[in-house]
Symmetry: C2
């Protein structure tokens, strides 16, 4: 659709790809990972922190921003970039995932979905058009279409109906996106479609073909991080590799452990978001590399820093040679000190492990790119 | 006692003084203010943050560190400096204030005070000797004697008894301090006495004389931030100016608003700790300068950032010219954005206002020193 993606290499031993996504706020080397700034901030971190971590992009959530601060505030500031003082790229979801998570508090029709706010119960409607309008007010660089993320275990009939509606919604999104471009806080934004269909490969492929016909800047794979086993999810991703356009970026939506990210990259995925490094950090789970070769198994470990065994540990939270200014800064704090911070409930502990885990995921992606480049993945 | 203090100027228009306290971890220009790192961290901030704020000293609480991480951990690390990776000065309180705050959970005898931990109810004894031993394990640069902080409104009989005991405890502390110096994690530490006596000036002066006879590196004024009106507290401070040695630093213990700090400085006080900039920050109260001349009234304002009026405000949290790298960093965030962070309960809001308020208090002290130097205070 837009030529936003340049593919520079496809691995000879897997479907792993190297490339670059051009956005209105900078180039993104693929494969990449997006830290999650749900409500306009990565939990415990500032905009300056995310810059220092070296991430060229972050993800924010339309549903949350719509409720607070609200579209009027975002319009007043000229979009989320200015509101949070971030001049790199932003991807926003459509708001659909959160709305569908509300369960009994929402109702789906052909037009869209009505829901009650989790904050005050106030009623709102989210249509494909409205989702695009909100994301254009946010000034997102990568706008996602409104889709229904079907729950794991949905019946075939439900899936088929839902996927057809998601296709019709995708077409409406594309039309609204083009019409609203002039009034957008980011006229250079990209629009991504979202593939659904549960773990049914026929439906997945049919839907991929329908979305490709409509034509998007990139394609997300949704609904694969909602409880199904990894082997089913990865089989779907493998099947989609041949069905999605090769010249557009593919984005795996939802949580993935470090070794799963490597597996999805080997199946042709270019983009990831993942709440694990940040959410786990707040519970004291620290990711670390065991060795440098991400193409080999067991390249990482995760440890519970609150464990008694770290009480006297002078081992640094992060090795200074682990990369960049952040690793240098974090290396001065010992596991024993950070454990103490968790024990006495000082939020600094959550912040330090959040920084360490995001550094881990960002280095993982850099190591993956090197491994593809060197023919090792 | 030690010659740790050099007085370089006494104002001609007030009792304000300029000087320097020499510690084993650096020189401290007086008057100065100490950020409070209760449990080995200033809430929401890292050691690197306090360095960046430019504070040459922090205060930590013996009672909390004694319970967690505990003396065994601090011994293992070689003291709090190494544990939290801080190589500037540390002052610790004696633990008495927190223990006496436990109310019914503690019991005072001539020997010391027994108390039940607020965490698990376990019983402990804090004697003058034990308080010094813990502070020497912490490796504090400025060690405080164990005193009883008498509640506002105590009877004369109670005050007199308590002050006599505090004097006897102070003498025991001095003896223990000298004996334990060899085993201390900081053999170059200073020892400060604490003046008590409520708002009774006779008792205060008598106690000051007793403490001076014992002889300490510095003298704190305790028990004046526990509910009595400012005019009574400041009258006591004025009276003590003549009774405490001129060649030792004086430390006002406990909370003081910015304008009260200026008044205490004019009455001869050199050192302050104060929980207000950090505790108030966590409730969204932001301190700002209204004008540059701290010798004139109303030089500051405090605003509630959660107020509706800041919803659309693009005004920076801190003006970039307000001083140092931190002001530069904070100036990129608007009041509207920080208000949003409080509204959605992102801890980043607390962190940003904590940084802003500490910067305010530290600049206040620098401005006070300039004003004394220029003959304006």
């Amino acid at each position: 659709m837009s030529g936003c993606f340049e593919l520079s290499k496809t691995s000879e031993t897997s479907r792993a790809r190297l490339g670059v996504v051009h956005t209105a706020h900078g180039d993104l080397l693929t494969p990449f990972f997006m830290p999650i700034a749900t409500k306009g901030a990565v939990k415990t971190l500032s905009t300056a922190d995310i810059e220092k971590l070296g991430s060229p992009i972050l993800l924010s959530n339309t549903y949350h921003l719509f409720l607070r601060p609200g579209v009027d505030v975002l319009e007043q500031f000229g979009g989320l970039h200015k509101f949070m003082s971030w001049d790199r790229a932003i991807l926003t979801d459509s708001g659909g995932y959160q709305v569908f998570s509300l369960g009994a508090m929402r109702k789906i029709t052909e037009d869209g979905v009505t829901f009650a706010s989790h904050i005050d119960g106030s009623r709102h409607e989210l249509t494909p058009e409205k989702s695009i309008q909100i994301q254009q007010a946010i000034g997102s660089d990568i706008v996602m279409v409104l889709d229904e993320c079907t729950p794991a275990g949905s019946s075939f009939e439900y899936l088929e109906d839902s996927v057809s509606r998601t296709t019709r919604w995708a077409a409406r999104c594309k039309q609204e996106f083009a019409q609203g471009r002039g009034a957008s806080n980011n006229p250079g934004a990209l629009l991504f479609g979202i593939n659904q269909g549960g773990t049914n490969q026929d439906l997945r492929l049919r839907h991929a073909s329908e979305l490709s016909k409509i034509g998007f800047d990139g394609y997300a794979i949704g609904g694969l991080s909602v409880g199904e086993p990894f082997d089913q999810a990865s089989a779907v991703v493998s099947a989609l590799d041949g069905a999605l356009p090769q010249d557009a970026p593919r984005y795996f939506m939802g949580g993935a452990q470090p070794d799963e990210i490597v597996e999805y990259v080997k199946r042709g995925v270019d983009m990831f978001d993942c709440v694990l490094p940040t959410r786990n950090a707040r519970h004291g789970l620290l990711y670390r590399f065991v060795h440098d070769d991400v193409s080999k198994p067991d390249f990482f470990e995760s440890l519970h820093i609150t464990n008694e065994q770290y009480k006297y540990s002078k081992e640094p939270l992060v090795l200074p040679q682990d990369g960049g200014a952040i690793a240098q800064e974090l290396s001065r704090y010992s596991l024993g000190y950070v454990r103490h911070l968790f024990t006495v409930q000082e939020v600094l502990g959550q912040r330090l492990v959040t920084l360490a885990n995001l550094r881990f995921y960002l280095r993982l992606m850099a190591d993956i790119r090197s491994a593809i480049s060197n023919g090792k993945l």
